[in-house]
C-alpha cells in the first residue's frame, strides 16, 4: 500500500499571487467565451440560413462548412490554425502574422467562434425546418411580402425555438475555451496548472477551477432562463 500523506492548503486559491492568477484566468475565459460566442452566433445563423436557402450552391457551401467543422476535433482545428495557419500565407507574410502579440488569443477566439458556428448553424437549420409550411402560407396570405414574412413571422418563431439548444452551446463554448490552454492562452484551466506547478497543490487549484466553471455555468443558465421567459410566445415552448 502506497499511502500518500497530503497536506491540504486551500489558501492557494486566494493567497497572493495565486488568487490574482485565477482572477486573471476567469477574465480571459469570459472574454474568450463572449467574443467567441458573438462570432459563433452571427456566423452560425448565417450558415444555418444558407443551408435552407433556395439556391443550391449556397446550400452546398453551408453543408460543407458544417460537415468539416463538426467532424474535426476542436483541438485539431486549434492546432491547425495556430501552427499551420500562418504558413498558408506564404513565407514573408508568415513572419508578420507570427509577430502579432497575443496571436494565440486571437487564434483561440476565432477558432472557438468558427467551431461553435457549425453547431449553431445546425440548430438554426433545425429551428427553421421545424416551422410548418402553414406558417409561411398564413403569413403570405395576410399580404406580407417575402422579406416581411421572414422578418416578422419566421425568424421570431425560429429564434425562440432554438434558444434552449443555444443555451447548451453557450455553456459549451466556455467549457471548450479551456482547450485554448494547449496553445498557451492564460485562461482559468491554464492558471490552475500554473498554480500547481508553483505550489504542487494541484488538487486544490483544479478543484477551485472546477468550482469556477460550475459557477459560470449556473450564471449562464440563469441568464438564458430569464431571456427565455421574456421572449416566450404563449403555447410555443412547453416548459
Amino acid at each position: 500500500m502506497l499511502g500518500l500523506a497530503y497536506d491540504f492548503d486551500w489558501g492557494v486559491l486566494w493567497r497572493n499571487p495565486y488568487g490574482m492568477y485565477l482572477l486573471q484566468g476567469i477574465w480571459v475565459t469570459i472574454k474568450l467565451g463572449l467574443i467567441g460566442w458573438a462570432i459563433a452566433l452571427s456566423l452560425g445563423v448565417l450558415i444555418g440560413t444558407m443551408r435552407i436557402s433556395p439556391w443550391r450552391w449556397l446550400r452546398v457551401i453551408g453543408t460543407a462548412y458544417v460537415e468539416i467543422f463538426r467532424n474535426i476535433p476542436f483541438m485539431v482545428q486549434l492546432f491547425f490554425w495556430y501552427y499551420a495557419g500562418p504558413m498558408i500565407f506564404g513565407t514573408s507574410l508568415q513572419y508578420r502574422i507570427n509577430a502579432i502579440i497575443g496571436l494565440n488569443y486571437y487564434v483561440a477566439i476565432i477558432a472557438l467562434g468558427m467551431y461553435t458556428a457549425s453547431r449553431v448553424a445546425e440548430h438554426t437549420r433545425a429551428g427553421f425546418s421545424s416551422i410548418s409550411r402553414d406558417h409561411y402560407h398564413a403569413a403570405l396570405s395576410t399580404g406580407l411580402t417575402h422579406p416581411q414574412m421572414y422578418r416578422y413571422v419566421i425568424i421570431p418563431y425560429a429564434l425562440r425555438i432554438i434558444i434552449p439548444p443555444l443555451t447548451t452551446e453557450f455553456l459549451t463554448i466556455f467549457k471548450n475555451s479551456s482547450i485554448a490552454m494547449t496553445i498557451g492562452v492564460l485562461e482559468t484551466t491554464f492558471m490552475s496548472y500554473k498554480i500547481d506547478s508553483e505550489t504542487f497543490h494541484g488538487l486544490e487549484s483544479t478543484t477551485g477551477a472546477c468550482l469556477i466553471y460550475l459557477a459560470l455555468g449556473l450564471a449562464v443558465v440563469r441568464l438564458m432562463g430569464i431571456l427565455e421567459s421574456r421572449l416566450k410566445i404563449p403555447g410555443m415552448i412547453g416548459r
Binding site: 502506497l2 500518500l4 501552427y83 500562418p86 504558413m87 508568415q94 513572419y95 507570427n98 509577430a99 502579440i101 497575443g102 496571436l103 494565440n104 494547449t182 498557451g184 492564460l186 491554464f190 496548472y193 500554473k194 500547481d196 506547478s197 508553483e198 504542487f200 494541484g202
Partner: protein
C-alpha cells in the same frame, strides 16, 4: 533477573522488527515485487532524454544512465528488472514522481529547494544555465536587449520562473512571454517568428540547435539569467532507491562509463557538443566517495 533478560530480549526483538519495517523502502519493494523500474523520461530534452521518431523510442544521456541503473538493480535483486517508460513533461514530472506513478525521473530537472520539499534528488550530475536561443543576426546582446521582445519558455520550467521573476524585479520588460508545452515547440515558435528568443538551459538549447537542419542559423546568447544544476528525482522519503541511484552515478564515474556516455551524447561527435569544463570534471571526480567493488550486492 531471568525475567528481565527475557523482557529485554523481547524489546530488542520488537525493535528489530519495527526497525526493519521503518527501513523498508516502498519504491525498492515495488521494483522487487513487480520486476519493473518505472521511469519518467522527457520527450524533448535533447540530449538527455528525447523521442527519436525514426525509432519511436526515448534516447539520450539520462536514458543510458537508466539502463545502467536497471542493470545494477537486476544484479541487486538477482533477477531481470525491466524498464517501464513513462513520458513526463516539465508540467507533469514532479506530480508523477510525488504520486509514485514513476519510481525515478531521469531527465534534465533542475535541483531547487522548493522541489526538494516535495521529492528527493540524486547527486547533481550536470550543470546548465538559463539563457536564450536566438537567430544568428539577432540584436539581443545583453539582458537589457530583452526589453520590447517576445520571449518564449516552456510551462512549469525554472526558466519561465526566472524570466517572470526578473521581469517582476524590473530588469527588463518584454512585449510578451509566450508559454509553450515542450522545448521543440519553443524552437518551432522561434523558427516561425512567434517568439524572438526562446529560453531554457544552454545545453538543451544547444541540443535543439544541433538537431536543426541548419544549426549555423541559430546561436545561444553569451549571457545567462540563472544557473541550473540537474539531478534525478525520486519520491520523498525513499532513501534506499536514492542511495542506489547515487551509487550508480558514482560507480559510472569511477568506471569511466559516465565519460563514455558524455562523449556519446555531448562529445565533439555527439548530438549536442558541449565541451566538459574543468570545474565540472573536477566536481565529478570529487563526489566519488569510497565504494565497495560489488556495492550492488544484497547484504
Amino acid at each position: 533477573m531471568r525475567k528481565c533478560f527475557i523482557f529485554a530480549f523481547c524489546i530488542i526483538f520488537a525493535m528489530t522488527l519495527l526497525g526493519s519495517a521503518v527501513l523498508a523502502d516502498e519504491t525498492m519493494d515495488r521494483i522487487n515485487k513487480t520486476g519493473k523500474l518505472r521511469v519518467g523520461w522527457r520527450e524533448g530534452s535533447i540530449p538527455f532524454a528525447f523521442v527519436d521518431p525514426k525509432v519511436g523510442k526515448h534516447v539520450g544521456f539520462s536514458v543510458d544512465m537508466t539502463s545502467l541503473l536497471a542493470d545494477r538493480l537486476s544484479e541487486h535483486f538477482g533477477k531481470k528488472i525491466a524498464i517501464q517508460p513513462f513520458t513526463v513533461t516539465p508540467k507533469t514530472r514532479i506530480p508523477m514522481v510525488a504520486n509514485a506513478t514513476v519510481d525515478v525521473e531521469m531527465g534534465s530537472t533542475t535541483y531547487t529547494q522548493q522541489r526538494e520539499e516535495v521529492v528527493d534528488f540524486s547527486y547533481i550530475f550536470f550543470f546548465s544555465e538559463t539563457t536564450f536561443l536566438v537567430p544568428k543576426d539577432s540584436p539581443i546582446k545583453s539582458i537589457k536587449d530583452l526589453s520590447g521582445k517576445r520571449l518564449g519558455a516552456a510551462r512549469g520550467t525554472t526558466n519561465l520562473k526566472a524570466i517572470e521573476d526578473q521581469v517582476a524585479a524590473g530588469r527588463y520588460t518584454p512585449d510578451a512571454i509566450v508559454v509553450v508545452e515542450t522545448h521543440p515547440e519553443g524552437f518551432l515558435a522561434l523558427k516561425g517568428g512567434k517568439v524572438e528568443a526562446y529560453s531554457t538551459d544552454r545545453s538543451l538549447l544547444e541540443g535543439l540547435r544541433m538537431k536543426a537542419p541548419n544549426p549555423e542559423n541559430w546561436k545561444t546568447v553569451d549571457f545567462a539569467i540563472a544557473y541550473e544544476p540537474y539531478g534525478y528525482m525520486m519520491r520523498e522519503g525513499n532513501s534506499d532507491i536514492r542511495d542506489f541511484v547515487n551509487n550508480t552515478i558514482v560507480w559510472s564515474i569511477k568506471t569511466g562509463k559516465f565519460f563514455e556516455m558524455y562523449e556519446k551524447w555531448m562529445g565533439p561527435k555527439g548530438v549536442v557538443p558541449i565541451p566538459m569544463s574543468k570545474a565540472y570534471r573536477d566536481y565529478l571526480t570529487l563526489i566519488c566517495y569510497p565504494q565497495a567493488a560489488d556495492w550492488w550486492k544484497k547484504k
